[in-house]
C-alpha cells in the first residue's frame, strides 16, 4: 500500500536529476517527519534506474517510476496525464515541484486537471498545526510576501525556486521503488522536441550584467584589483567600482557605480573592500542578492547586504575563485 503523503516531482532530463527535486525531497522529509508522514519522489522519463537509486540514497521512502519510451522527452500533456492518473489513484496530501521551466509548466497543467490550488515560486514552506501546507510567495516584484494555503482541495501543490532549500545529505536508502504501468499512445505526445541548445554565457556591460563584482577603496592597489577581476571572470560577470578605484585608475570611468555613476539591477552583486557609502549603495539597491566582503565588521555595507563575509579579501578571494572553478570543472 502506498504510504507517502508528500510527493515530490523528481525533474530530470536525459537521466540527469535536477537538483531542485532533491532539495525539495530534503525539505519534504523535514516537514513530513513531525507529522508522521512519509515522502515519495515521482520520476517520469526513460531509463531511470540511475536517478532512482540517487533518490533512494537521499532518503525517499518511496520512488514512483514511470519509465516509458513515450516519456523520453518532456511534453506537458503526456507527463500531466501520467501524473494525474497516479495522483487520483493514491491521493497524496501535498505535491511539490521545482519552479523550473519544466516544473512551472507541468505543475500548472496538473493543478488545472486536478482542480486544485498551486502556490507558485515559493520561497518557503511550512506545515500548519492542522497539517496543511503553508507557502510563502513573493509578489509585486518581491515588494510583498503572501502566505497562501489551499485547505479544501487535494493535493496541495506548490512550486519552489531552486536553491531555496539546502541539499539533504546522502545516506543508506531504505525506501522502495514502485514501478508504474504507463498507458500512453503517440497521440498523447502533442509536440516534438527537435533540438536542444546549451547557451554560452557572454560577458555583458554593467547595465545588463546579471552578475556584478565591485571593488572599493579597500582593494588598495592595482595589483590587488586583479583579484576583483578574477572573481568576476570566474562568475562570468561584469566589473564595477566606486569612485576611489576609478580615481586611482584601477577601474575605468564607465565602471563606476553610484549616485553620479550608474544604477544597476544585477541578480548577484558582490562588493569587495567597499564600505557601503550611500551613493554607491543607491546604485545597487535593485540587486537581488548582495554579498559583502570587508575587513571592517562595522562597515555600513553589512547592514545593507544579504550575505556578509568579515575578513581580508586577499585571503578570501583566491579561495573563493578556486572553489568556484572547482564547481565548473
Amino acid at each position: 500500500m502506498v504510504q507517502s503523503k508528500i510527493w515530490v516531482f523528481a525533474e530530470q532530463r536525459n537521466g540527469q536529476l535536477a537538483e531542485v527535486g532533491i532539495e525539495l525531497l530534503g525539505k519534504a522529509l523535514e516537514l513530513a517527519r513531525p507529522a508522521g508522514w512519509k515522502v515519495a519522489s515521482v520520476l517520469a522519463g526513460q531509463s531511470l534506474s540511475g536517478p532512482c537509486e540517487r533518490l533512494l540514497s537521499f532518503g525517499a521512502d518511496e520512488v514512483f517510476v514511470a519509465d516509458h519510451p513515450l516519456l523520453c522527452s518532456y511534453c506537458s500533456q503526456s507527463y500531466a496525464k501520467v501524473l494525474d492518473n497516479l495522483i487520483r489513484e493514491h491521493h497524496p496530501e501535498v505535491f511539490l515541484l521545482g519552479a523550473t521551466a519544466m516544473g512551472s509548466d507541468l505543475g500548472a497543467r496538473l493543478a488545472a486537471r486536478l482542480r486544485t490550488g498551486l502556490s507558485a515560486h515559493c520561497i518557503d514552506l511550512e506545515l500548519s498545526a492542522e497539517k496543511k501546507l503553508l507557502s510563502v510567495v513573493p509578489g509585486w516584484g518581491g515588494n510583498v510576501l503572501a502566505r497562501i494555503y489551499s485547505p479544501f482541495t487535494k493535493p496541495q501543490m506548490a512550486t519552489v525556486m531552486p536553491g531555496v532549500f539546502d541539499m539533504p545529505r546522502e545516506g543508506n536508502g531504505r525506501g522502495r521503488v514502485i514501478p508504474l504501468d504507463v498507458h500512453l499512445t503517440p497521440a498523447d505526445v502533442t509536440y516534438q522536441v527537435l533540438e536542444i541548445n546549451r547557451r554560452a554565457v557572454k560577458e555583458n556591460g554593467l547595465e545588463k550584467a546579471e552578475v556584478v563584482i565591485a571593488g572599493g577603496a579597500g582593494i588598495g592597489s592595482k595589483v590587488d584589483w586583479q583579484l576583483v577581476e578574477g572573481l568576476s571572470s570566474a562568475l562570468k560577470g561584469a566589473v564595477g567600482g566606486t569612485r576611489p578605484p576609478v580615481d586611482e585608475n584601477w577601474a575605468k570611468e564607465d565602471q563606476m557605480i553610484g549616485q553620479s555613476g550608474r544604477t544597476i539591477h544585477p541578480k548577484l552583486y558582490i562588493g569587495v573592500g567597499i564600505s557601503g557609502q550611500m551613493h554607491h549603495m543607491v546604485g545597487i539597491k535593485g540587486a537581488d542578492l548582495i554579498v559583502a566582503i570587508n575587513q571592517d565588521p562595522q562597515a555600513p555595507i553589512f547592514e545593507l547586504c544579504d550575505l556578509g563575509l568579515v575578513g581580508d579579501f586577499k585571503e578570501i578571494l583566491p579561495l573563493l575563485i578556486r572553489a568556484i572553478q572547482d564547481y565548473k570543472a
Binding site: Q259, S260, M278, H279, V282
Partner: protein, 380 residues
Amino acid sequence: MDFKLTEREELLRKTVREFAEKEITPRMDVMEETGEFPVDLLRKMGDMGILGVITPPEYGGTGMGNLARIIVLEEMGRVCPAIPMAIQVHHMATHALSKFGNEEQKKKYLPPLAKGETMGVVAVTDPSGGSDVAGIKTSAKLEGDHYILNGRKCFITNSHFSDFWVVIARTGEGGRGLSAFIVEKNFPGAKPGRKENKVGLRGANTGELVFQNCPVPKANLLGHEGEGMNIAITNIAETGRPGMASVALGILNAVLEQAVKFANERALYGKPINTLQAIQWHIAEIFSDLEIARLLVYRVGWMRDNNIRCDIESALAKQYACEAAARSARKAIEVHGSYGIMKEYPVQRLLRDALVTIPAGGTGEIAKLVMARHALNMFK
C-alpha cells in the same frame, strides 16, 4: 471647467514618453558635445506622427491639434529639451504653410515636413534685430516672374537641416511692406551660413541663412505682398510662443525630477536632505512653478484648438514658463550643493537650456509689452 486630459491625450503622453526615453536618451551625450541635431531621428519622428501633429490629415499629418502638440513637446523636453526646440520650429513652418499657403504650396511642402524628409524653418530675425520686425532689411525685389532676395537671417533654428525655408523679406516700405516667401535651399544664391555655438539646447542647430541675388518664383510668395508682418506675428503668437513654452515645460519637469531624486538620496547630518525645511521650500517652489507653467501653456493649447484668439495668454505662457524654467533650474542646482556645478550632473545643463529659451521665439520684454498694452486697456 474640465482640467482632465482625455484618454487620447494620456495615451499620447505615454507613447511619446516611451519614444523619447528609448530613442533620444542614448543620443544626448553626443548632442551636448557636438551641438548637432540627430538627423536620423527625424524620419522616426515622422513615422511616429510627432512631426505632423498639427498638419491637417489631407497633407500627411494627424491634425491632432495644439494641446496634443504641447504634450508631445513637453514629453520630449523632459528627456532632452533641445529636441523639442528643433521640432517646435519645424511645426512653425507647418503652421505658416497651412494657414497662409495656397493649395499647390500646401500639397508640395506640407507632406515632406510631416514625414520627416526635411526640417522646417521660419526665418524672421534679421541682424537688425528679431524684436524689431518692422526694421527688417532683407529685401525681395520683384523682377519679372521672380523676387530677387538679398540679405541675411540669423539665429535661425534648423538652418542647416532644411530643404526649404519660410523667409520674411521687405517688398515695400514700413511694417506693411513685408512679405513671406518659401525659399528652397537649391535656389541659386541661397545657402546656410555660419553655425552658432549655443551654451544650451545644444542639439538644436542654430545658424545663419544667406541670400545673394536669390531668385524666388512668384508662385512661392506665401499669402499676399504686405502680409509678411501679419504672418510673422501670427506664427509666433499661435505656434512659436506655445512651442518654446512647451520646451520650458519639459525643462521644468526634468528639473523637478533631478532635484527630488537628489534630495531623497543625499544625506547630511545622518538623514536625507529632503528632511531639511530649506530644501523642502526649494522643492515646493520648483513644483509650483511647474504646475503654474503647465496650466498656462495647456490653456493656450486649448484656446487654439477651440479657435479662441490667445495672443495675450500665449505671450504670458511663454514669458512665465521660460523664466520659471531658469529660476527653477537655478534652485535645483542649489539643492545639489557642489554637485550641481559639476558637469557630470544634468542640472547645470538644464539651467543652460533654460537660459536659451528666454530670448528664443520672442524675448520676455516683448511679451511683457504685449501684456502691458492689454492690461492698460482693461478698465476703460
